[in-house]
């Protein structure tokens, strides 16, 4: 078992992946499960907010372009919840224009991973942000 998949409180870390692409949910989910993380998924921003509020994941990975509620709105809504203000959120997106990235940080995310995902970089960021999570 990968010890790094555990939080400092000893439980297996839970990662919520929010993306409207089933392909991405499956691919990212597999990478995380291979590292022994518990994976939750949501297919739009609104569902992502609901799962974040209900499950209190240790880390959230958020796409931007999604139906019903986009990633910026979802992150801002999640940050409005007192219990989720210190949950690390990483945007996972193809949108790398300056104004888009700035908008992501202004909505309240902590870091970015750009698609196509480089597994090594992606897992470094996941492990790192989980290290400092509550």
């Amino acid at each position: 078992m990968n010890e790094s998949a555990n939080t400092d409180k000893g439980h297996r870390a839970t990662v919520l992946v929010v993306d409207d692409s089933k392909t991405i949910l499956v691919a990212v989910g597999q990478i995380l499960q291979q590292e022994n993380y518990k994976v939750l998924t949501a297919s739009n921003g609104e569902e992502g907010v609901e799962k974040a509020e209900a499950e209190h994941p240790d880390l959230i990975l958020m796409d931007i372009e999604m139906p019903i509620m986009n990633g910026y709105q979802a992150v801002q809504t999640i940050r409005a919840s007192e219990q989720l203000q210190e949950t690390p959120i990483i945007m996972i997106t193809t949108r790398n224009a300056l104004e888009d990235v700035e908008k992501g940080y202004m909505s309240g995310c902590n870091d970015y991973v750009f698609k196509p995902v480089n597994t090594h970089e992606f897992l470094e960021k996941v492990r790192s942000w989980l290290e400092t999570a509550e």
Binding site: Q76, P88, M106, G108, C109, N110, Y112, E121, S128
Partner: protein, 169 residues
């Protein structure tokens, strides 16, 4: 840390936006902008000749054969930037550095010592020290993203923490 209001920065004309894994080195006065989370931007310039540049790396050290060509790693991006500046005529002994980025903790009571952002910042210190390039200004760590603007000819830098918009309750 060099932090100045944007209005005090003179526009040098040419503008570049730097993504992760990219490098700009130039003789032409250029304003380089980048946005950083856990990544690091190292800004270097030769004050006598006004030659300068910036890199933006994602991870501190790459060891695999294919990593050693990629400016996504600090141990590649820093020597590569120096080499490009020297090729343009800069003197390595005159280079000065400013280092920004490396967000590494969401929780003020829990600094992320093993966090990739902290390791990225350490790598910049280590690699610049090895080459005897002084870091004259830095702003690293914390939970926030940063927007960095660097002027290659003067070495002026402006860095702003990107604060999240206050959510509506």
């Amino acid at each position: 840390m060099t932090s100045q209001p944007a209005k005090n920065i003179q526009d040098p004309g040419r503008k570049e936006y730097l993504h992760g894994g990219q490098i700009v080195a130039t003789k032409e006065p250029t304003q380089i902008t980048s946005i950083l989370g856990s990544c690091i931007a190292v800004c270097l310039w030769d004050p006598r000749l006004g030659i300068g540049g910036m890199n933006h790396y994602l991870l501190p050290f790459g060891h695999r054969h294919e990593d050693l060509k990629s400016a996504r790693y600090g141990n590649v991006a820093i020597p590569m930037l120096i080499e490009q500046l020297v090729d343009l005529g800069a003197n390595v002994k005159r280079l000065q550095a400013k280092v920004f980025g490396g967000a590494s903790s969401i929780n003020p009571g829990k600094p992320g010592v093993h966090h990739v952002g902290a390791r990225n910042a350490e790598a910049a210190q280590e690699l610049l020290l090895e080459r005897r390039i002084p870091i004259v200004s830095h702003d690293t760590g914390g939970a926030n993203g940063r927007k960095v603007i660097f002027h290659t000819n003067t070495g002026e830098a402006w860095v702003r923490l990107i604060q999240a918009n206050k959510p509506e309750k």
